[in-house]
Symmetry: C2
Subunit: 424 residues, 2 copies
Amino acid sequence: MIKFDFQHAHLNENLKDYQEAVTLAHTQLHEKTGAGNDFVGWVDWPLNYDHEELERILATAQSLRGRFDVLLVCGIGGSYLGARAAIEMIRGLYCPDKPEVIFIGNTFSSTYFKQVEAYIQDKDVVLNVISKSGTTTETAMAFRMLKQLMENKYPAEECRQRILATTDRARGTLKELADREGYPTFVIPDDIGGRFSVLTAVGLLPMALSGIDVRAVMKGFAQAYDDLKNPDLEVNPAYQYAVCRRILEKQGKCAEMLVSYEPQMTMVAEWWKQLFGESEGKEGKGILPCSANFSTDLHSLGQFIQEGRKMLYETLLLVETPTLDGQFPYDEADLDHMNYLAGKSLDWVNKMACQGTLEAHEVTGGVPNLIITIPDMKEESFGYMCYFFFKACAVSVYLLGVNPFNQPGVEVYKKNMFRLLGKH
Amino acid sequence: MIKFDFQHAHLNENLKDYQEAVTLAHTQLHEKTGAGNDFVGWVDWPLNYDHEELERILATAQSLRGRFDVLLVCGIGGSYLGARAAIEMIRGLYCPDKPEVIFIGNTFSSTYFKQVEAYIQDKDVVLNVISKSGTTTETAMAFRMLKQLMENKYPAEECRQRILATTDRARGTLKELADREGYPTFVIPDDIGGRFSVLTAVGLLPMALSGIDVRAVMKGFAQAYDDLKNPDLEVNPAYQYAVCRRILEKQGKCAEMLVSYEPQMTMVAEWWKQLFGESEGKEGKGILPCSANFSTDLHSLGQFIQEGRKMLYETLLLVETPTLDGQFPYDEADLDHMNYLAGKSLDWVNKMACQGTLEAHEVTGGVPNLIITIPDMKEESFGYMCYFFFKACAVSVYLLGVNPFNQPGVEVYKKNMFRLLGKH
């Protein structure tokens, strides 16, 4: 379902020289014997996920359907990016269907919170709060304020339907609060870290609430499990990508720019940045993950990529078939001299822009390009793509000699902040 | 109005060693004797801008006020980013006031176009098309389709009020088309390049149409002209920033991450990326511009910044006073254990997060930090900030020995694309 092409990357090593190291990483991953092995629950999740909970997610979404204008998703980091990536990719940026989805609890910005609060005042709302512990400060603060808002808006019985908590199975502040208030709760598994959690209840519940077919997402996810379980580099595109990253790094490339030609893929790139940056940015190592949306950013970052410092490579995340397309219209007067494109499909023009840019960056600019092609921006492709990136990331980071599954550096600012906030 | 602080940057050179080079760059800029001197019209623009045209912008906005739900801004690159940066920064991301502003003509994505087209079907629309030549493909294609949509929606006389063209003073495809159709036209000056054009009609018209007080924007712009016209590094924060960038580059930092703690500043960062990336990414040189929004992205990029490859420095773009604030509420039950913050202002918490992060990244992580502080996210601050970044950019790039005002590399992909599109 995913095609990977490294013919435009100008690698000066052979992938097959990495086969042994890849096989080792693969084995460590599947046998749970590598670094961070407490957090590899995602590897078999496409088979082992809690099917009963998926049914409960679907039933919950069904029971609330049509009863709300706005879905508030309150979470940060791994409890935010995956759902947003899926919802924007699949529904697009100007989706005609309800509900509108607003992400909150992912910032301390007072202006942002107050504007959203005013915006939803007269709208019907469902609130999904997502936090493993319930103590993440951004999310906990927003949730307290939104809970009060909901309690002022709806009677207690209604709140117990409209507030949904995704949290630890048994313990923690949010779990206790939810049980006490009678909110339905959904489970964040213990052995799946935040950035690998999008296809647990963390992402599936907001997706289902926003009208996405989560069964199809899980179907693509399972398909990827099957397709990518072979350690042989010849046939495993995820592992090819994993190795290419390391080769390009050795060739002096310290930044990877994930490029899409679809604005609705912008948040997929943000999700990907967390996945790779947080997995590999340790011990002074790692490739800086950044992103761009073309052709938009060809008119901003294009100059730097084409002629600036030769520090980066591009990873194109291309979509074969767009969700919507149209034909460029003929115009009798042709005052804009654009009739040469009349009758062409809009997406064909996008594809030509992509091809011309690839040639410009690769050949003229000397910028290596990796190309990942997904069939479309629908459910199955999203699920498949998630697993593709999970495996590519884990193996790539194992090849770097780093534990992909911890994030010790994230705690440093929190410690300082808690001291300044006077938290005991 | 802007404070600049480099005490957290750990520079191993003295700024004053650069005074001579800075004075030279300053003189070249103000006397129009440096590289790219055909495009330094922005330097005196705060004084010399066309006051009559500003009045016409205000009158146009006034005459259309209340008559449209959606403002479509059709442009790309420098004809897109500045207006979007201003509108999001000043109005916020969930502005309660009409019009909604939608940016279009900045992508070839068919799904994006078709979704927006459907979205505005039953709404009242004003369309501002922005292109110097009128031949920029993304913008010209979108404009042809939107023009037909407007002509189907409104009678000819109404179209002549609702379609506004910002383009060359006298020549070009769009100017000719607009004159022929009778659309009001506004001027993109010849001696101001796209990425320096936000405070010409390019940005001012969409700002005014969206309800922003453009006179106040120009007041801040003029204030910055006055404050930043002294080449003395001791008193010119824009030039201090310009020099710090070069010193950090020499210290091995090849990427600059512009960081804000306000989500509504995200597009300011995108605008900044074009300004710096397109000005300096030439001849194999330049610092890669990237951006993050904290605390959101502390939960994604934070790990890499804290403990990953030591390749970047951060430039904090801080806001002293938020547009809206609130008090964190007390909760009798305190099930979330958050009462220790009860009574605190939301913005105070944001400030503590910022302080704790600065300490984490600078002291523990060894990441240099530059700090730019603006008073608020209102009109005057926006205008002031634009000029601050313009001058910092121009001088910084002159110090690099590169022409800041051309963008030869942007043409390469276009040439290839036109060949593939069959354009003669």
